[in-house]
Amino acid sequence: VSVSGSEAFNFIPAAPIFLPQGPWNQIPGGVTAAEGFKAAGMYGGLRAKGEKPDLALVTCDVDATSAGAFTTNVVAAAPVLYCKNILNVSKSARAVLINAGQANAATGDAGYQDVIECSNALAKLLQMKPEEVLIESTGVIGQRIKKGPLLESLPKLVNSLSSSTEGADAAAVAITTTDLVCKSVAIESQVGGRTVRIGGMAKGSGMIHPNMA
């Protein structure tokens, strides 16, 4: 079931995000505020219970310059290892697929293969190369991704991509786990004589002491 932003807020409200004064304006839109980005969030049957959206997708219409920061915990999840490998060989990307419910951590080679299979399937649907697809997971450590329901949900997820604020809001809800609010923000500012937009979404509430590099 894909949800629009307003429905997404039926599940959890948006966090109040306070930005300091500066040479920028806060604008709606989160990850879809910047030119070229679309997002979607839907319930794919991945969560252990409830029907809160649990699958999110962010895409870019063009090759986007990519960067990443990853946990330095040596017990690193399969999607972390996968993304680090991708960023080591490629300077750009065009999609980020995020699942909530299973962390795909401590899942060995089988867990890594699951990541490969999901990125290949999505790349085919989006007519991209697999190495243009990055993946993030969050949830129960030791559990592999519920690959069947995830792969079955991809066509509907891709069809519900939207450059609207609703798309960004639905994605921000779909990445949450024990969060009580979803986290999404965007700003615009004049950079080099043009209006530049920066947006983002995040999740997190427990097991929080990031040391990312």
């Binding site: 962010v58 219409d61 990519s66 960067a67 980020v96 950079v191 947006g199 983002g200 995040a202």
Partner: protein, 220 residues
């Protein structure tokens, strides 16, 4: 676990973008804490489409790069603070600002040490203006400073000056904490450790019974 996805339409080269993102992560997500547990999955992915048509940024020293860095910092800090604000069982956000250090990294390390202290977090939950715990957490951060230079304020209430406790209105200080908890607001802890030029911030939340309850029942 924290996950983040950041998007922009700025036009920036790969090397500069990757540098900028790590700097912003160090000033935001790497400066939050809820429980001191670093996850197996923490990830931030940042994508720049370049479709704004802005000047191509190919050096960190460009004026445009400095401006874009400030914008990236504020977006990531806004998201990072909302994670700490939403910490499991939290009733308020704790914002720690450390000044007077010799470098930004040292100030940041002291700030995060204070924000991570279970005793400081529990004192905030107990609405106890416990300056001793704040001083101790600053002292064990691994950064050397003269303890006679230590100053601690809770909001704008001076608790310590020149490394020694000051007389202060305990009821007012406790009410400051109580009000923040009732409104899920922000408790500001301001610490100065010397005359250095650098400052850093960290964000956390108070430690409530609910944190234990949530995590004693939630199992993998």
């Amino acid at each position: 676990t924290m996950l983040g996805v950041i998007t922009t339409d700025a036009l920036v080269t790969s090397e500069v973008w990757r540098e900028m993102v790590q700097v912003a992560v160090n000033r935001s997500f790497n400066q939050i804490t809820v429980d001191g547990d670093t996850s197996t999955n923490d990830t931030v992915i940042a994508l720049a489409s370049g479709l704004s048509g802005s000047t191509r940024i190919s050096s960190l020293n460009y004026h445009e790069a400095i401006h874009l860095q400030a914008c990236l910092d504020v977006v990531m800090q806004g998201l990072a603070k909302s994670i700490a604000w939403d910490g499991e069982g939290a009733t308020c956000l704790i914002e720690v600002t450390v000044s007077g250090a010799d470098s930004e990294a040292e100030a940041a390390k002291i700030a995060r040490s204070i924000a991570s202290s279970s005793l400081v977090k529990a004192a905030v939950y107990g609405r106890d203006p416990n300056w001793g715990r704040i001083a101790a957490a600053a002292g064990y951060a691994g950064i050397s400073f003269h303890q006679t230079k230590l100053q601690v304020l809770l909001g704008n209430i001076l608790l310590m000056e020149d490394g020694e406790p000051q007389p202060f209105d305990r009821a007012a200080a406790s009410n400051y904490l109580k009000k923040a908890g009732e409104t899920h607001g922000t408790v500001e802890i301001n610490v100065s450790v010397g005359d250095g030029p650098a400052r850093g911030q960290a964000w956390g939340c108070d430690l409530s019974y609910d944190y234990v309850k949530i995590n004693a029942e939630y199992t993998t």
